[in-house]
């Protein structure tokens, strides 16, 4: 595994550093206390920076952290100190944009918690056990969205492509904003 580009954790915290959804892929943080301490560290060290227009980066204690903020949500992707910074940034961008698509552009803590199932599925589609599964936001959102079609609706190719179409439409809209 040592050589494969890998993600150690993905964190989605609120504006006070509290968890919205987090996912760890490494044994560096064996207990919940260690995880919380890490999140606190990451949050306080990045709090004062302005990561709203472009992703920012910081390094401490062998961890590389790329992050981006929107409204009251703080997105983080962390990796080892030898990881390629641009790969982590790509994962972050994929996660960030996919969440934007899934929440239809209303990205804030409240919306994220109300659609927590989508956020969790989204995390599940981006990274599996530290290995990057997908980084393209529309594909990620498409995969997640295809799951949340109303019960009983027959699954056909068409509904998936419809979901993808809505997703794309939202992406374009958010880009034009």
């Amino acid at each position: 595994m040592e050589k494969c580009p890998s993600v150690k954790s993905i964190l989605l915290l609120d504006s006070e550093g509290k968890r919205v959804a987090v996912k760890y892929y490494s044994d560096d943080w064996p207990t919940n206390a260690a995880k919380e301490a890490f999140e606190k560290d990451v949050f306080t060290k990045t709090q004062k920076t302005n990561a709203r227009t472009e992703a920012e980066i910081a390094m401490f204690e062998n961890n590389m952290v790329v992050y981006k903020f929107v409204q009251d949500l703080h997105f983080f992707v962390t990796g080892g100190e030898d990881e390629n910074e641009l790969i982590l940034a790509t994962v972050l961008q994929g996660f960030f944009d996919a969440v934007g698509l899934l929440l239809r552009g209303n990205v804030d803590k409240r919306e994220a918690l109300e659609n927590l199932d989508l956020i969790l599925l989204c995390l599940d589609e981006i990274v599996d056990g530290g290995i990057i599964l997908e980084t393209d936001a529309t594909v990620i959102a498409g995969k997640v969205a295809s799951h949340s079609i109303d019960a009983g609706a027959p699954l056909s190719e068409q509904t998936i492509s419809q979901a993808l179409a809505t997703a794309r439409e939202h992406l374009t809209r958010s880009l034009l904003k």
Binding site: R19, I57, F60, L155
Partner: protein, 889 residues
């Protein structure tokens, strides 16, 4: 899309703290999970309940064994529903619960059904779930499906199977290795990510077969790897192959360099950067190879994206440690980054500039840094201070402006670690640069006037006591020191008293005044301060009887305590007040065996901001050796240590006793330092010596040896043997070694040692002293200048035939290693396929004689190598000696 879990309430809407999970409790959520058992399933309701449970787990809540079993069984019921969204949440829930083996069986059939479903999403996700929770026995049952999935035409399914394969390889390698053919087929996929996952798995499968990896990499560099991630992966494998094949490649040729170079320009920025980084990390990279990579990084520096800037500057910072000249082309871009908003980037830029800048740019840089220091956090400031310290070592002439800078920042606000870094830097500068001593000491004096850290004050006072008395005008420090006695806490007062006494002991003219001051300290409120003052008054002879300070007094004041503090403490505790005085010589000097339980956990690697502090470590170890050797009375008369070799192993890895040897070269002597480690917990060794047979080293005669009193388990110890040798001659010889000791049995659980010991011996490998041991690798920055400045009369030229060689590079390396000199201006690397090569070497020979060597090599069709060697040195006889070394080597 999923519905909110609560009805939106207008009042709640305005409240900032509103959360759908507000006040949610574990027991209530578990209770709700009963809906999974309803005969009429409501998929939406079930989804909500699962989300609640996942939320709790995500917040760090844990379920007991019974709770999670109950939830697991309830969740398995949900496989009845055909709702796609619900199924997906069921998958997530199962992964989170990580069920035990008995439970896995329950869901296996459901998951296997999904694996063969027509729906791609079912297939992909059920594979990932099943592979996550499965064990070896089950894996053989589903292996067939997994192989099919790897070559599935749906990329999501293929990726799911491949990624699962990567994880399973850790636990069930023999099974996954059988999938090689399918994985290879997946490599051909048109879909980028499938290719990436297939490559990762294929490499993992072949990891232990170097030849196969090399073949795989070779074929891929010719083919088309489309995915950027796969290309990054390939670049990492290539670096590994290059690293493994170092030494047995054709002359001067760097395999795959062309491929890395081409990746600098295609495949997207992620790939460009990965390739640039790989090139900078190549072993013995030349300036020519570096240039294209540096150009790419330079381009990144101009980006507006912080991540790209950071990545580039971090890499350049590392390059600057070894190849500062290669990075100078980016100086302009880096200077504009000093004011970057991201402080990590700014700090990296400034520390890189400090390494690449030349002497003339320092003043300007220091000015810029001064503006910038107040804006950054302490941890970054420490990095800057360290960079300045090494800069000062590099440009000693500039010490004045650098010292001023350090003293200025010392006066500003800052935490302990930061102040300590500055004070340490000043101390090092004073130690290494006699010119800087006076001003440095005064800066430190001023600092303790207003220092809030007791530890730093006492350290500086101690240092003042050692350095101050030998300055031109010691009296000017007295005021600063005595002020401490008035104004500080007891700890600082006590150390100020000690420092005063040191001045008194060293400077006779000051003695009467010191006594006046010490006498005042006799009325201090603190016991320790009073005791010290009384003690020093007596040792220095304040009663007026003794005028000259005796050797005893100064030894008492300046020599460090030669007994372990722990032992002294126990001895003092055991001492019962009686007529007999406590005798310090009765304190044992050996460290006791610690019980095994106390073994320290491996400490975490400390790094800050990605700048590895390689710095002046080599000089650091020499310092440490010098201190170690001069502390041993038998060796203290040998004079200044000329060179210490790096440790040479005399035992195979993982034997009972691990022994390495360090060769210390002095003018007249050679000392072998044997570092021994006892790796057997059941043994305790005593009286460890090395018996050296020097019959094959005629010019050496043994003069002293220092046995190691005891060698407990896993705490390394040293034993020494010293030889006399003729001065100035590069005497060479072979030594055979036998480790001799008394072995005692130890009970590892209690740490108790058996009293009876047995004599034993252990054969070590031979060790050689060669000519290169007498040569220090010291580079010169401008070889031709240095060469011209040497006396041409000392030049000796001769030609040699080196016989048949594998390659030109092989011959060049052999000569460099034989002489043990530093290749200059990158001439140590032979360009590929060249028929001739010129190599410039520089070094300092024993007796501090500077030596420069120019070598010209030529190779003919039969691989016969000829060499012309020209030497200039400060001493003609040394020039001749160099030729003798080559002639006899």
């Amino acid at each position: 899309m999923a519905q909110p879990f609560m009805k939106k309430d207008d009042d709640l809407d305005d409240e900032a703290e509103y959360s759908p999970f507000l006040g949610i409790e574990k027991w209530a959520a578990l209770q709700e999970a009963r809906v999974f058992n309803d005969p009429q399933l409501d998929p939406r309701r079930c989804c909500q309940v699962i989300t609640k449970l996942l939320y709790l787990l995500n917040q760090g809540e844990t379920f007991t064994k019974t709770e999670s079993t109950e939830v697991f069984f309830a969740v398995t019921k949900l496989f009845q529903s055909i709702d796609l969204g619900l199924r997906r949440m069921v998958y997530l829930m199962i992964k989170e619960l990580s069920p035990c083996a008995d439970e896995v069986i329950i869901v296996t059939s459901s998951l296997m059904k999904d694996m063969n479903s027509k729906t791609d999403m079912y297939r992909a996700n059920s594979i990932r779930v099943l592979c996550r929770i499965t064990d070896g026995t089950l894996l053989t049952q589903i292996e067939r499906y997994l192989k099919q999935a790897i070559v599935d035409k749906n990329p999501v399914v293929a990726s799911a199977a491949l990624v699962s394969g990567i994880h399973l390889l850790q636990t069930n390698p023999e099974i996954v290795k059988r999938w090689s053919n399918e994985v290879q087929e997946a490599m051909q996929s048109r879909v980028a990510l499938v290719q990436f996952h297939a490559l990762a798995l294929l490499h993992q499968i072949r990891l232990n077969d170097r030849l196969a990896v090399s073949k795989l990499v070779t074929s891929l560099t010719k083919g088309t790897v489309r995915s950027p991630l796969a290309q990054c992966l390939l670049i990492r494998y290539i670096s590994q192959v290059i690293c493994d094949s170092a030494g047995n490649t054709p002359p001067g040729e760097r395999p795959f360099y062309d491929y890395l170079d081409s990746c600098l320009r295609r495949g997207g920025e992620m790939v460009n950067f990965e390739a640039a980084r790989a090139i900078t990390e190549l072993n013995g990279v030349t300036n020519q190879e570096l240039t294209p990579a540096i150009t790419v990084l330079q381009y990144f520096l101009l980006s507006s994206n912080p991540v790209k800037k950071f990545a580039a500057i971090r890499t350049l910072n590392k390059v600057a440690m070894t190849h500062p000249m290669a990075v100078t082309s980016c100086n302009i871009e880096m200077e504009s980054l000093i004011s970057d908003q991201n402080r990590s980037i700014a700090t990296l830029a400034i520390t890189t500039l400090l390494k690449t800048g030349n002497e003339s740019s320092i003043d300007r840089l220091m000015k810029q840094i001064t503006n910038f220091m107040s804006e950054i956090a302490d941890e970054f400031k420490i990095v800057v201070v360290e960079a300045i310290r090494s800069l000062c070592m590099k440009f000693p002439l500039k010490y004045r402006s650098l010292m001023n800078f350090l003293s200025n920042i010392l006066r500003e606000e800052g935490g302990f670690e930061y102040k300590k870094a500055i004070a340490d830097s000043i101390v090092i500068l004073i130690r290494d640069m006699p010119d800087a001593k006076e001003s440095g000491l005064l800066h430190l004096c001023e600092f303790i006037e207003d220092c809030e850290f007791t530890y730093l004050s006492t350290q500086i006072l101690h240092f003042l006591g050692i350095e101050g008395p030998t300055t031109a005008d010691p009296s000017k420090y007295i005021r600063y020191i005595y002020n401490r006695v008035h104004l500080e806490n007891a700890t600082v007062r006590a150390s100020a008293v000690s420092t005063l006494a040191k001045f008194g002991a060293m400077v006779d003219s000051l003695k009467p005044r010191i006594f006046v001051l010490l006498r005042r300290c006799l009325f201090d409120a603190d016991d320790e301060v009073r005791d010290r003052a009384t003690l020093y008054m007596n040792t220095l002879g304040a009663d007026g009887a003794v005028v000259e300070t005796g050797g005893d007094a100064s030894e008492f004041l300046f020599k460090s305590l030669d007994v372990p503090l722990v032992n002294l403490e126990t001895s003092l505790k055991n001492y019962e007040p009686s007529d007999k005085h406590f005798d310090i010589s009765s304190v044992p000097k050996e460290v006791k065996v610690k019980p095994l339980a106390e073994k320290k956990a491996p400490s975490k690697k400390p790094t800050g901001l990605g700048a590895p502090r390689r710095g002046p470590t080599s000089t650091g170890t020499v310092d440490a050796y010098e201190r170690l050797l001069s502390s041993i009375p038998e060796f203290s008369s040998f004079g200044k240590l000329f060179k210490s070799s790096s440790p040479v192993e005399l035992t195979e890895a993982e034997t009972e006793y691990a022994v390495t040897v360090v060769k210390h070269i002095f003018d007249h002597h050679v000392v072998f330092q044997y570092n021994c480690t006892n790796t057997i917990p059941e043994q305790f060794l005593e009286n460890v010596t090395v018996i050296v047979d020097a019959s094959e080293a005629e010019e050496f005669s043994e003069v002293a040896s220092k046995p190691l009193r005891s060698l407990p388990y896993d705490s390394p110890g040293q034993t020494f043997v010293a030889f006399e040798k003729p001065e100035g001659v590069p005497a060479a010889g072979k030594f055979s070694n036998i480790l001799r000791f008394i072995v005692k049995e130890v009970d590892p659980s209690t740490g108790e040692t058996d009293d009876d010991g047995v004599d034993d011996e252990y054969q070590l490998e031979e060790l050689e002293v060669v000519a290169a041991d007498y040569m220090q690798k010291v580079g010169v920055s401008n070889f031709l200048n240095a060469w011209e400045n040497m006396n041409p009369d000392s030049e000796r030229i001769d030609e040699y035939g080196l016989g048949q060689r594998e390659s030109l590079a092989d011959a060049v390396n052999a000569v460099i290693n034989l002489l043990g000199m530093q290749p200059c201006e990158g001439t140590g690397v032979v360009p590929s396929n060249s028929r001739s090569h010129a190599c410039l070497l520089s070094g300092v020979f024993i007796g501090n004689v500077k030596v420069l060597v120019r070598l010209s090599f030529g190779i003919d069709g039969q691989k016969e190598v000829a060499m012309k060697l020209a030497v200039r040195s400060d001493d003609e006889s040394i020039s001749n000696a160099i030729h003798e070394i080559v002639a006899s080597g």
